[in-house]
């Protein structure tokens, strides 16, 4: 399966009976969709189920796709609706999971304390690992409407107009949410700013 086939072309071929075309679609979208769902629901097992549900819905309703929008828009609309349904269910049984990782260590040790405690030469790999975890936590702590815009833009690379189509809000609203999300991330990770500047 060559890369030059568009998503819509692949879906049309799947509707005509080509299972390999659908495999190519899954390969293209599994990672960004999974990360979008994972950052939305914050639980790996839930994200696994929801990713499976997204693709199963595509399999069942592939003939309903008329090609009036991009396939990525359609896929993210399905994923977003599933995430919203899941979060509504979780509202009624919100409890502290015993095995879930704790998010947001606001009152924990600072970066200097954590890195200096190891010795004179900070372990860069450990710092990097910690930074990634903090970034993930900061993304998960974004407000819902900012997080979904941020993830669609960063994980999938969707244009703001397509994001507006998925969410159903004006394009300027999407841009504003994106700006607020970036500002909030920068404030949450200001401790790491110098370290990131060094890396870049």
């Amino acid at each position: 399966m060559t890369k030059e086939h568009s998503d819509e072309e692949l879906l049309r071929r799947f509707n005509e009976g080509d299972a390999d075309a659908f495999a190519e679609l899954v390969r293209r979208y599994e990672r960004p969709l999974y990360n979008f769902i994972l950052r939305s629901v914050r639980r790996r097992e839930r994200a696994d189920e929801l990713l499976q549900d997204v693709f199963l819905k595509v399999v069942q309703r592939s003939s309903d796709f008329k090609g009036q929008s991009k396939l990525s828009t359609w896929l993210y609309t399905i994923a977003r609706n599933l995430c919203i349904d899941h979060s509504r269910k979780m509202v009624f049984r919100r409890h502290q999971s015993l095995d879930a990782p704790r998010a947001g260590a606001e009152d924990g040790p600072t970066l200097l304390e954590r890195t200096a405690a190891e010795g004179a030469e900070p372990d860069r790999a450990a710092v990097m690992e910690d930074l990634k975890r903090r970034i993930a936590d900061a993304v998960e702590e974004l407000p819902e409407e900012q997080r979904e815009v941020f993830l669609m833009r960063h994980v999938q690379g969707m244009r703001f107009k397509d994001i507006a189509d998925v969410i159903g809000v004006p394009e300027n609203t999407v841009k504003s949410r994106m700006r607020y999300a970036l500002e909030r991330l920068q404030r949450a990770l200001a401790d790491y700013q110098e370290y990131v500047d060094e890396l870049m």
């Binding site: 659908f22 990672r31 790996r44 399999v59 970034i135 900061a138 941020f150 700006r179």
Partner: protein
């Protein structure tokens, strides 16, 4: 460019979605505005941090289940969409091998037409027309009193169809050729009895017999035709209802509103004349039937 417009374009500038002209104008504003340049630096730093967001890998078991479902779906669709030339060649059945010769070819040709809807519709139409043509003369030769049937409307239902469509019995009436009045056979018998006592008057000239046309038998003398204006008498409620339903004088059709279709205020006051449903003309009061 003012700061508000610049702030609106910062994200587009950061992600390179801004047209080149607008991007240059925004950059020019940023070079001279410290507040906007600080805001741009902040979101650029946020983008740099977000770029380090780790991408998780989905488990393979999830995707295996998805692909299994996709292959199952393709397999379900395959028999319906598979082209004929791609179907596997199968050995002919024994009965197909035995069916040979002109009779089998004829049956095969007829069988090809068996399930065609156009043929079925044409045959049904032919059957209906044939049956109609077969039975129509028989119906025409039936009791001529059918043509004199009096159709009475159902008294309780003005809008509904007539319930008395049963043909009336032939009236035992006969017109007196001299006076033109209707006389019954009983009257004739009485006259004959009187004539037997009295001396016989000269016989009246017989009227020429009505011409017999077609296959009809000699019909009895037709009774005087009852017109819509003088029958039935204008006293019964059913009669009034019939008057309400007279044809519209403008449109000529039975377009008067029925009792059910009239507005409620008309139903409350039944004395008010109804209107024609289409011409909206009210029935003239002077032409209402007068009670004798």
């Amino acid at each position: 460019m003012d700061c508000e417009a610049c702030t609106d374009r910062l994200v587009e500038l950061l992600y390179e979605e801004l047209p080149e002209e607008d991007a240059e104008a925004t950059r020019a504003h940023l070079s001279g505005c410290e507040a906007c340049s600080q805001a741009f630096a902040q979101i650029r730093a946020g983008k740099g941090l977000a770029a380090m967001l780790e991408m998780a890998e989905p488990p393979a078991s999830v995707l295996d289940a998805v692909m299994a479902a996709a292959r199952e779906r393709v397999a379900d669709r395959a028999p319906a969409q598979e082209p004929a030339h791609e179907r596997p060649a199968t050995a002919p059945r024994p009965d197909e091998e035995e069916a040979s010769g002109p009779w089998a070819a004829f049956l095969k040709w007829v069988g090809g037409f068996a399930m065609r809807p156009q043929l079925a519709m044409a045959l049904t139409l032919l059957l209906i027309v044939g049956l109609g043509m077969w039975y129509l003369p028989t119906l025409r030769q039936s009791d001529p009193a059918d043509s004199h049937a009096i159709v009475d409307p159902a008294p309780g239902d003005e809008a509904g169809p007539s319930t008395s469509l049963v043909p009336a019995e032939p009236l035992d009436l006969e017109a007196d050729p001299r006076t033109g009045r209707i006389r019954t056979r009983e009257d004739e018998a009485a006259e004959e009895r009187v004539a037997a006592v009295r001396p016989a008057p000269p016989a009246p000239t017989p009227e020429p017999a009505p011409e017999v046309t077609g296959e009809r038998s000699v019909p009895p003398p037709s009774p005087p035709r009852r017109t819509r204006r003088d029958w039935p008498p204008a006293t019964a409620p059913a009669v009034r209802a019939r008057w309400w339903r007279r044809p519209c004088p403008i449109l000529g059709s039975r377009s008067w509103t029925s009792a059910r279709a009239r507005p409620r205020r008309w139903r409350r006051n039944r004395r008010r004349a109804p209107r024609c449903a289409r011409s909206r003309r009210r029935w003239p009061r002077r032409s209402r039937p007068r009670r004798s």
